[in-house]
Symmetry: C2
Subunit: 100 residues, 2 copies
DNA sequence: CGTGTAAGGAATTCTGACACG
DNA sequence: CGTGTAAGGAATTCTGACACG
């Protein structure tokens, strides 16, 4: 994976990068919206992608959306993406089979 | 700048990513080979570019190079790069002037 | 439900120094 | 010169709980 996906940022930096309090960031994890890794000592580690996701979450919260709605929305988009990927792969396979 | 240049990684993670001890990482800073930023509290923050640079430094150290040699070598490469950039910019300007 | 806060403890990092070679 | 280590302190993070609404 790219640097964007490497979980290397502590919660203090994430707080600075997103403008969110640490309390909020931990709460969104409790609500299954972000999934940091942990050091052996238990310290949370986030990726830049997590930072982007948190900013997106913050915007949706400002719009009055609730955490469970955001979670469902993300799951829905994930499923859409999977469908798209499957179709794309199918077309690529079809094109490939025509060639041989 | 890109994510690669954002100083967000603590020394513990850098140690893990590079395989270097924290002692070595701090020493290479003392010898002016890397330049982390600091939080208000004084904690060092590195970028992925710093991590790459440290891996490069580690390789050169293994080859028996000394810190001051590595520093000079990097300065030399920086100057070369500046010359290249200046030439490139000059050629672009020339091409642009021909057009108008 | 979402978030602030005080509490106590544990993990992380910092500096300056001594040691060895 | 480059690096390990023990020392003491400070900054950072963690969890569980109480509070408010």
């Amino acid at each position: 994976m790219s640097y964007k996906d490497k979980k290397v940022i502590t919660i203090g930096m994430v707080s600075e990068l997103t403008g969110l309090t640490e309390r909020k960031i931990r709460y969104y994890e409790e609500r299954k919206l972000v999934f940091p890794e942990r050091t052996p000592g238990g310290t949370r580690k986030y990726s830049f992608l997590d930072v982007e996701r948190l900013i997106d979450i913050a915007n949706k919260m400002e719009d009055g959306m609730q955490t469970f709605e955001i979670r469902k929305m993300e799951q829905k988009q994930l499923r859409k993406k999977e469908v798209r990927d499957r179709m794309l792969r199918g077309q690529l396979n079809a094109a490939f089979n025509l060639r041989k």
